[in-house]
Amino acid sequence: MRYLPKSDSERRQMLDAIGVPNIESLFEHLPERVLLGRPLDIPPGKSEYDIVDYFRALGEKNATWPSFLGAGVYRHYRPVMCDVVVSRGEFLTSYTPYQAEMSQGTLTAIFEFQTMICQLTGMDVANASMYDGSTAVPEAALMAMRVTQRDSILISRAVHPEYREVLATSARSRDMKTGEFGYGTESGVSDLEDLASKISDQTAAVIIQTPNFFGCVENVKAAAEIAHRHGALLVVVFAEAVSLGLLEPPRDADIVCGELQSFAISPSFGGPFAGVLAAKEKYLRQMPGRLVGETKDSRGNRAFCLTLSTREQHIRREKATSNICTNQALIALMATVFMTVYGKEGLRELAGQNLAKAHYLGAALPRRFSSPYFNEVVVRNTDPAAANRALAGRKIIGGLELGRFYPELSDCLLLCATEMSKKADIDQVVEVLR
C-alpha cells in the first residue's frame, strides 16, 4: 500500500531484531474475546485516480450555481496566495507548536493573527482561534460567568439561530441560565427596551451580534451601556468578518467573538472554519484556548512561544478554563494570509464592494426591516419557497427562507450579495422576487 513505506524484507529485519516471527505475535497478548477475527467490511484500497474521480463525481451532485445564501457562511473570493501558503508542508504537516525551537514559523504567524484580530475588533488581546463562531459563543459566555461570578446569560434573538442553539446545548450541563431578548419588528435590530426589562444583577453577559442575523448593524454602544449599568459584560459576536473592514469595531464590548469564514475559507458545507475570541486585557486570565506570546531565547533573540498555559487542560486538567486543545490553526493561518493580502486599504475596499452589491439588490426589493444593513438584507415575499424554486429554474441558488428559524418571518427571505455576486445575476433575482 502506497502510504506504508516498508518492504517485506525490511519488515523481516525488524521482526528479527525484535525477536518475534511475525507482526501478529506482537499483539497475541490481546484476549481472543476482544479481537475482531474477520476483515473489516470496507472495500479494498483504491488508486489515486479512482479517489479523485470519486470525489469529482460527488462534487457534481452538488449545485455550483451563483448563490445568494449568506446566513453565517459567505461566498468571498479566495486569493491564490492563501492556498499556496497553507499547502506548504511546513505549515500543513506540523504539530501544535509546543516545542518553540521547531515551531517559530507557526508561532510567529499566530502572533500576527492575534495582533490582526485585535486591530480588527478593537480589543486588547485575542486567542489563537476557536473551532468556529458558534462554539466561540458558549466559551465567551462561560468566560463572562467566571469574570462576573454570575450565572445568567441574555442573548438577542437576532444572533445567528444556530449559535444560540449551541449555547443552549452548553447550558444544559452547567449552572448557566440562558434567556433571550427580542428584536424590533420594524427595525430588525435588538430590542434594547426588552433587554433593559430582562437584565438583572445576576446577568453575567449580554450577547448581541453585529451585523446581526438579518444583516442589520446593531447599536453596540447602547447595548454596552445597559449591560455595564447592571455589572454585566457585553459580548459582541460577528459572523461576517468582512464587515469589519468598514464598520466601527465594537470597542465598547468586553468580549468579542466570531467567525472568520469570510477570510479566504471556502464554504465547504459548513466547515472547517475558524472562530476567534478577543477581550479587554483585564479579562486575559479567564480566556479559553491557546495564546502565543513574545519573549526571548537564551541568546537574547526575539522568540515566540505558547503562553499562559496554566489556564489550559494539559496543565490544569479539571480546573482549566476550557477543554479546548486542537483548534483551527491552519485555517487561522489562511485568514492571516487573507488579511495580509488585502491589508488596510483592501479590506475597506472589499467591504465597500459588498455594501454596494447588497444595496443594489436591497434597493430594488421590498425590505422587511428599516435599520442600516451591510451585505445581507431581509426581503418580503409571499411565497419564499416558490421564489427559490423559480430561481433554481434559472440555475441560481436563492436566499434563506427565514420561516425555518423565525416563524413570524415566514414571508421573508434573507439574501446576501458579495463582491462575487455579478450584476446580471442580481438583476435576475430582482426580476424573480419583485
Binding site: 500500500m1 502510504y3 506504508l4 525488524m14 531484531a17 525484535i18 506482537l26 476482544v34 475482531l36 476483515p39 473489516l40 479517489i51 479523485v52 470519486y54 451532485k61 452538488n62 445564501l69 446566513a71 453565517g72 457562511v73 511546513e90 500543513l92 504537516t93 504539530y95 507548536p97 516545542q99 525551537e101 521547531m102 514559523g105 502572533f111 500576527e112 480588527l120 485575542a126 473551532y131 462554539t135 444556530e162 449551541v166 446545548t169 450541563s173 448593524v217 466601527e248 464554504p267 465547504s268 466547515g271 472547517p272 475558524a274 513574545e294 519573549t295 482549566a320 477543554n323 486542537t326 483548534n327 483551527q328 491552519l330 493561518l333 493580502v341 488596510k344 486599504e345 442600516p372 434563506l400
Partner: protein
C-alpha cells in the same frame, strides 16, 4: 554523530507589521459593476470606522516571501519523523488536500437545498458507515470539531441518557494516566472528577474500579491502548463492573491507531467514544488544527446524538432534525466537513485490508524502536507495547539530565521531540509513537540519535542540558512570557 541534518539556510524574518509601509498592495478587486455606495450614508456616520490602525500594507512578493520564510522555521512531517506519543503524527496524503478542494464540495453552502447538496450528504453517510464498521459501534455523529469537542459531546450524551432515566449522576471516573482533556471535559459537562490509580503494571485496577463504581458514577473515561501504549486487557471486565451500576464506558479514541482492523471498542464494552480524524485518519494537524472528533455510540445512546442526522429518504439523502431526545446542536452546521472529505479519501485509499496493515506496521514500528532503545533508557512499565512506547529518564536524571533536555537535544539531531513528561504516572516520561508511515531508515536514525544522546549524557551532560545548539532560537524563555505577557505587536 548527527547524520540527518546540517545547518542550512536559516532565514531571519520580521513581523508583517514591521515590513509594512503605507500604500503597498497585494490585491486588486474587480471593477464594481453596480453603483458605489457612500458608507456613511448607508450605515450612518457613527457606524463607519476611520481606518484599521496599523493593519498590514505589503506587496504580493513580500507576502509570499514572508510566509515562506516563516515556514522554513517549522519542523513538519514532510521533513521527517515526528515521534509525539498519543499525537499520531503520520503522513498526510496530498490527494486528500486535492479532493477537499473539489469545487462542488468546497463551495457547497450548508443551507443550499438538500437536493442540490447530495454529494455532501453522501460523504457524511458513507464516512459514518465506515467509522461504525471500524469502531464496532452502532451510530456515528461527525459533527464535533476536534477530539476534546468529541469528548464533550460524548459526555453530554451520557448525561442526557442518565437524565432520561431520572438522574444525571454526579461524577466521572478518570484513570491517573488519562489525557488532560478528559478531566477538563468532565468538568465542562458539570461532573466531578474522581481519579483512579493504575495498578503496578500501568493498567486499570479492577478492584479500584469496583470500589469506585456506584450509582453516582455517570461514566468512566478510558483510553485504550492507554497512554503507556498498553492494551487494557481487562477493559471488558471493567465495563461489566461499571454497567452493573448503570454507569457508561467512554473511550478516548486518541490511540485508535493501534486498533483499527484488529479490535473494536464496540466489541469490548465501550458505550461511547470519539475518534481523532487528524490522528488515526491522517488529516493534517496544520500546526494545531483543524481536526475532527466524530463521536460513536452504541444504540442506547443513539437517540441523544446531536442534530441533524443524515437519513435516507427513498433514493435521496436528507437531514433529520426531528429528534426529540437529541442534546441539540454542538456546532453550527454539520461539523468540519472538509476534514471529513480528507478522512474518507484516506479510508478509500487504504480500504479495509490496508487499514489493518497500517495498524500492524504502527505496532511493528513502536516495538522496533522499543527494542533498539531498551538497553539505554528505563522502561518502568514493561508490558507489551502497541503503537507507542514510554520510557523514563530515571537513568539520565541521575546525571542531572531530564527528559526535557533529551528532547531539546533530539532537535539538534534533526527530529521533533517525542511527548515530554506525559503520562504523569511515569516520572520523566519519554513517550514515543513513530506511526506506520515511518520507513525503517528513519526509525534507525531516530534510535541512533537517542542512543548517541544517552552516551553524550555519560560523557558531557552539559552539552545536552544546554541544547538545542543548531537552531535559530534556543531555550525560549517561557517563564518571562507568562509573567509579562506580550500577546500582540504594537508600534
Amino acid at each position: 554523530m548527527i547524520r540527518k541534518v546540517r545547518n542550512h539556510l536559516n532565514p531571519e524574518e520580521g513581523l508583517v507589521f514591521e515590513i509594512s509601509s503605507p500604500g503597498k498592495k497585494a490585491y486588486q478587486l474587480p471593477d464594481l459593476d453596480v453603483p458605489a455606495v457612500d458608507p456613511a450614508q448607508a450605515l450612518g456616520p457613527a457606524n463607519v470606522r476611520r481606518e484599521i490602525e496599523h493593519f498590514p500594507e505589503i506587496s504580493e512578493v513580500e507576502t509570499i516571501r514572508h510566509f515562506t520564510r516563516l515556514s522554513a522555521q517549522n519542523y513538519a512531517i514532510d521533513f521527517g519523523c515526528y515521534p509525539l506519543g498519543s499525537c499520531t503524527m503520520k503522513y498526510n496524503p496530498r490527494v486528500n488536500e486535492l479532493v477537499a478542494r473539489t469545487e462542488g464540495l468546497a463551495w457547497a453552502h450548508p443551507y443550499q437545498p438538500e437536493a442540490l447538496a447530495q454529494g455532501c450528504l453522501e460523504v457524511i453517510d458513507v464516512l459514518e458507515r465506515y467509522l461504525c464498521e471500524v469502531t464496532g459501534m452502532d451510530a456515528v455523529s461527525l459533527q464535533p470539531a476536534a477530539g476534546a469537542h468529541g469528548e464533550w459531546t460524548g459526555i453530554m450524551l451520557v448525561r442526557a441518557l442518565h437524565e432520561s432515566r431520572g438522574n444525571p449522576r454526579k461524577k466521572i471516573l478518570v484513570p491517573d494516566s488519562a489525557h488532560g482533556t478528559n478531566p477538563a471535559t468532565a468538568a465542562m459537562c458539570g461532573y466531578d472528577v474522581e481519579s483512579i490509580k493504575s495498578n503496578d503494571r500501568g493498567l486499570i485496577d479492577l478492584e479500584a474500579v469496583a470500589r469506585a463504581a456506584n450509582e453516582d458514577v455517570a461514566a468512566m473515561m478510558i483510553t485504550n491502548p492507554n497512554t503507556l501504549g498498553i492494551f487494557e486487557e481487562n477493559i471488558d471486565k471493567a465495563a461489566a463492573i461499571l454497567h452493573e451500576k448503570g454507569a457508561m464506558v467512554y473511550m478516548d479514541g486518541a490511540n485508535m491507531n493501534a486498533l483499527v482492523g484488529i479490535s473494536r471498542p464496540g466489541d469490548f464494552g465501550v458505550d461511547v467514544m470519539h475518534l481523532n480524524l487528524h490522528k488515526t485518519f491522517s488529516t493534517p494537524h496544520g500546526g494545531g488544527g483543524p481536526g475532527a472528533g466524530p463521536v460513536a455510540v452504541r444504540s442506547h445512546l443513539e437517540p441523544f446524538l446531536p442534530i441533524p442526522r443524515v437519513k435516507r429518504n427513498g433514493a435521496a439523502l436528507a437531514f433529520d432534525y426531528d429528534r426529540p431526545q437529541s442534546i441539540g446542536k454542538v456546532r453550527a452546521f454539520y461539523g468540519n466537513f472538509g476534514v471529513l472529505v480528507r478522512a474518507l479519501a484516506y479510508t478509500l485509499a487504504h480500504g479495509g485490508p490496508g487499514l489493518r496493515n497500517a495498524t500492524m506496521d504502527a505496532i511493528l514500528n513502536a516495538n522496533y524502536v522499543r527494542t533498539r532503545l531498551q538497553d539505554y533508557y528505563d522502561m518502568p512499565y514493561d508490558s507489551p507495547s502497541m503503537h507507542e512506547c514510554v520510557f523514563s529518564d530515571d537513568r539520565q536524571s541521575a546525571k542531572g539530565v531530564k527528559t526535557g533536555d533529551i528532547a531539546k537535544r533530539l532537535i539538534d539531531y534533526g527530529f521533533h521531540p517525542y511527548t515530554v513528561s506525559f503520562p504523569l504516572i511515569v516520572h520523566g516520561a519519554l513517550m514515543i509513537e513513530p506511526t506506520e508511515t515511518e520507513p525503517k531508515q528513519e526509525l534507525d536514525l531516530l534510535a541512533d540519535a537517542l542512543i548517541d544522546i544517552a552516551r553524550e549524557i555519560d560523557d558531557d551532560p552539559n552539552l545536552v542540558k544546554t541544547a538545542p545548539h543548531g537552531t535559530r532560537v534556543s531555550r525560549v524563555d517561557e517563564v518571562t512570557a507568562a509573567r509579562k505577557p506580550i500577546l500582540r505587536w504594537r508600534p
